[in-house]
Every structure is written in C-alpha cells, then in structure tokens.
Symmetry: C2
Subunit: 345 residues, 2 copies
C-alpha cells in the first residue's frame, strides 16, 4: 500500500486533530482511501522538534503533559527549528499549520517555499501564503513537480476551491459570492435577535467563534484574504489584497437588521468576485441585505457558504462549517487525498 | 488533443442541448478541458439513425425542419435501430438519453448493457437503469474496462454522487437527506402562498415543471428512485426500490403548510438514507416540517438540494437546479469529464 510520510510544521489544535485522526482511524482510512499516513517529523513552538524517519508514535506525543517538550526523545530537540526540519526530514508531504500573520503570510510563506524547494508536497490551511503569493507558489510547485494544496484556506473543510475546479469544470463562472466568515455571520444573526454589537461580539468570543481581537472578523479583512484567493483560484485573476474594497459589519445596527428582516431581507457580510461583460473581474467585501430567495439568505449561525453563478448550471451553492479543529484537519486530509489522486509520489 | 467520439442515443431536449454546446462552444471547452468532442452517431424515434464515423455536422442536424428525418443522408436511416447503432458505431462514449420508463428502466437499461458489452463508456441521466441495476451495470463496466457515469440521475447538473465520492472522501457519511424533486418543492411553496393543491399543480404544469401526469412527482416515486441511487452510490447499500417506504405530498393541505410556517417551519418532501448505530441503513421518502435552522428549510422553488451528515465535517449541503435541458446536458458533460480524468480511452 502507498504510504505518505508527513512532517507536521506547527502542532496546534488543527495539526493535533489530524494526528488524532491518523492515530484513531488509520485502518478505516487505509481501507477507503487506499493509502496510509505516517508522521515522521513534528515541530512546535512549545514542544520543539522531533525527527523520527521510521515514524513517530502519535499516541505518545499526543499524551505528553503540558510543559513537556521533545528534548531527550530520540530525534528530539528543544528548538522548533522549522526550516531545518522541513529541509532535512524525509517527508513526502509538509503539513504547514503554524500560527501565521495573515498580513505578511509569515512564517508559513517561507515554510511553503522551503518545502517545495526541497521537493516536498505542501498542504496548508493558512490563508496568507495563498492570498499573497498563490501564483508564485503554484509555479514553484510546478518547477519541482510537487503539489501545493490549500482547500482549507477559504472555508475550512467545506469544499470550495476543488469544488469549482472539478465539479464545475467546463462551466463559465460569472461570479462567486460567499459568506466566508462565520463569526461575523453569527454576530449579524444575534444583532437581529436584539443584541448590541458589543454584546454579540462578547457572546461570539465566549462560544469560541471570535478571537480576543475580533477586528479581522468584523472589519472584513479575513474575508478580503479569502476573496483574493477565490479571485485567483476560481476566476484566474490575481487582485492584490489591498486593492479589494472592504467594508465590515461594524456600522450595521440591530435596528437595521430587524428592519430588513421585517421586509423579508437578511444582512450578510458577503465576499464577492464578479466577472463583468467586458471581461474585467471585480472583487469586494461588503454587507448586503439579501432577499429571502437568495441561496445565501438562509445560511445562519457560524456556517459558511458560497454561491457560484454559472452559464450552464445557473446558481450552485455549497454550505458547511467554516471553522473547527476537526473540520479544518479534514481540509488537510482532503488535500492529501487530492495529492494521492493526482499521482502521489 | 484527445478526442472522444460520441453516439447520442435519443435526441430529445437534453441531447440536443449537449449537441448545441458542442456546436457552439467547442473551442472554449477544448481550451479548458484539454479534449475535444465529436458526434459520430445519433438515433431518435422521430429522426431515425445517422452513422457518420468522420463526424456529424451538428449545425446541419440541429437545423433540420420538423418532420424531416435522417433517411437520404449519408449513413442515414429512417429507423432508429438503437441497438445496432450502439454496437456498430465507432463511438468511445454512448450518451444514453432516450425516453425511458422509470419503473422498468427500459429501453435505457438494455442500451447501457449493449454499450458496455461492446466496449463503450456510457453516460446517462436516466434514473431507471441506475436505480434498478446500478451494481450489475458497474460490474459490467468493470469487466469491459469501461466507465458507467450517471451524475445527472439524481439532481440533474447539480453535483451529488461524485461530490460525495470525491469532495467528502475519507469522511463517514451518517445520512444523506435531500429535496430531490423540484416540482413537489415548488408546489409545497405555492400551497404556503394559499393555493389549493390542484391550482398549484396546474401552475407547475404551466411553468413546465410538472408533467401532464404529475403522479411521480407528487406521489414520491420519482424521489424514491433517487433515494435508491443515493443508498447504493453514496452509502454502499442496495435497497430495492419497492422496499423504500414512500409518502408523497398529496395529503398535505395549504392550512398545514401555513400553520407550520407560523411556527417557523417549512414542509419539504425529503428523500433520506440513514445509517443507524447498528450499521443498518434505512431509506424513506416522506414530507417533513423542517425547522428554519435546517439547511434544507430555505431551499425554495424548483431548486434541489442535498445535505450530508458526516463525522469529520458535520453538515455539508449542496443546492442547485434539479432539472432543465442545459443543466442536464451539463451533467452528461461532467460525466464525460470524469471519464477523461479517469484516463479516458
């Protein structure tokens, strides 16, 4: 059976969920997918680095007590040293899952470059490298005969990029419009229930939807990065992130949300990429009051969804979770499946 | 460039829409898909049969006046003679698009068998052969090293079968629930607007959604066939069509629909396949009053949609058109694309 060796760069919630899946469910995955997975390297800011070419015991690593680190283990080191591990490990696939600055894409961007340059496939759910350097990294992957896959960068485990490329192949996509930030969608819903913005944000934080600093969610910059990715990956046009007009939901009041609801409309923060008749492509992020008949109007809570407007099929919509550690770990698995189906190593 | 030769068995609205697409859009399709399509045989109850191994002039055939037929054209015959054309044509792919009895699957079922036996791939949107003999035909295809593809049999051009097999690969699907008949969904919506059942049926017929005999749509037997297909193709379990408990929408009154709406619920005719904890799989067709938070509650008009309940991703929903000649022709094209991506000839 084919076996792919993985290097996990970053061992936070999502990478741990992937490791748990491999630990607990490998027999079923092997039977249904036709390949097996083995982790041969892990790096983490707190744990350090661990290189074991014969395969790391995931049960042992996942059971390590808080405060422990990899030093003293065979192949272990107190220092994370991501770049060295990426280059030196014998992994087939680098799983890039570090905490990354979305504005600069670092350190993920450098990690992806190093991995591709050293002949390894890369899967990631980090938006930054894809939004900022998607074309460069795709070219680099091509030069080295490897793949760069990032399905989870837009809607976590819910398919959108490969959905467009495979399930809608042969159609002309006139526009892509999405609810791409679950936190702001949840907050808009709660404004409609009568909460003030600050109350709704506090509730979203308590539920674990919103970060301590919710600016990227409610200000629209998270959606803007995802829109840049959709423009390039689905519409084939690179639009620099800073050129995408972006309005968040901070100016919307509960009164506006309830007034819209009385007319059968629902406010949604939409990311949109649209191809005009003259061939130009426009991208924007803005709140829109959608009529009830719009396929995105009924998408509530922290769910994400995207509607494709196509020539042959009209409107097709995919909705599902837009976050969550297991859901995002599945995005990484789906990238690995895509690499396998494209011929693997 | 790879070129696939097609035999169009049945030349009604859907096959004509596919022929128009090839006539009008082949340069774009070749550029984006990497292969070209040529029609080398057509049969039709009214037109007869036409075998031209060097390629049929589709513009000419599509412009034929009503009442004309293929006799007198090179390779033409007054008689449709589907079986002979399927066996004798040099087609790579047989496009089965005849008017077929959904209860017996004929004549499509025989056509699919003949095509596979003579070493040709088959694409179809006919439900009958898939629901009644899906496993037999898949095995026959395997024996002959060909493919049998039928994405359009469930939701026309909206992806569902390959979506489950590719985009959800590696997840455990606990249930599949869908709005799989646009006519009944449209009628339920109009009952909610205050129309009586007969009025709503008449309106659906006037709009071209409902057949002259709407029994299969409103009685649930159309959905039942689709549920049988989903059980086998998505859940891996064959459930004979006649063993699927089926209730249509004929007993639902407008008063019930409006009463449910007052509680924030919407009646939908659902086709469901569910895997229970003990591993058994249950299928059923019945109207259900869904709460507004259910992803299928907001699916209105003639739109179709399916929700997958998965272990790793939770609920993922795909919605889009469930009928239409161009949309269904796209389903056939998507099947051809799948054949090409699987290695073609």
């Amino acid at each position: 059976m084919r076996c792919y060796d993985l290097a996990l760069i970053g061992f936070g919630g999502v990478a741990r969920a992937l490791a748990e899946l491999i630990r607990d469910d490998s027999a079923r995955l092997e039977a249904t997918l036709g390949f097996s997975l083995r982790v041969v390297a892990i790096t983490d800011l707190n744990l350090g680095s661990l290189l074991q070419p014969e395969g790391i015991d995931l049960a042992e690593v996942l059971a390590m007590p808080r405060g422990a680190n990899f030093s003293g283990m065979p192949g272990g080191d107190r220092d994370a040293d991501n770049e060295r591990v990426i280059r030196e490990s014998a992994a087939d696939i680098v799983v890039e899952a570090t905490f990354t600055n979305p504005a600069t894409g670092e350190p993920a961007l450098s990690h992806v470059r190093s991995a591709l340059q050293s002949g390894k496939h890369v899967v990631t759910t980090n938006k930054g490298p894809v939004a900022l350097a998607g074309a460069e990294l795709a070219e680099l992957a091509g030069v080295h005969g490897r793949r760069f896959e990032f399905e989870g960068a837009v809607m976590s485990g819910t398919p959108v990029i490969r959905f467009a490329q495979t399930q809608l192949a042969g159609t002309r996509i006139a526009s892509v419009t999405g609810i791409l930030n679950g936190t702001s969608n949840y907050i808009l819903g709660r404004l409609g229930d009568g909460l003030a913005l600050q109350e709704a944000i506090g509730e979203a934080q308590a539920l674990g939807y919103a970060e301590a600093d919710p600016t990227a969610d409610i200000g629209g910059s998270d959606v803007r990065l995802k829109v840049a990715i959709l423009a390039e990956q689905v519409m084939g046009v690179r639009i620099p992130v800073e050129q995408i007009p972006t309005t968040g939901i901070t100016e919307i009041t509960g009164a506006e949300v309830t007034a819209a609801a009385a007319e059968g409309k629902r406010w949604k923060l939409l990311g949109t990429v649209e191809r005009h008749e003259d061939g130009t492509v426009e991208a924007r992020v803005a709140p829109v009051a959608l009529g009830e008949e719009h396929p995105l109007a009924g998408v509530s809570g922290a769910t994400n969804a995207v509607t494709f407007d196509t020539d042959l099929l009209g409107q097709v919509t995919v909705s599902g979770p837009g976050a969550g550690r297991v859901e995002t770990a599945y995005a990484l698995l789906s990238d690995i499946i895509a690499i396998d189906r494209a011929g693997g190593r």
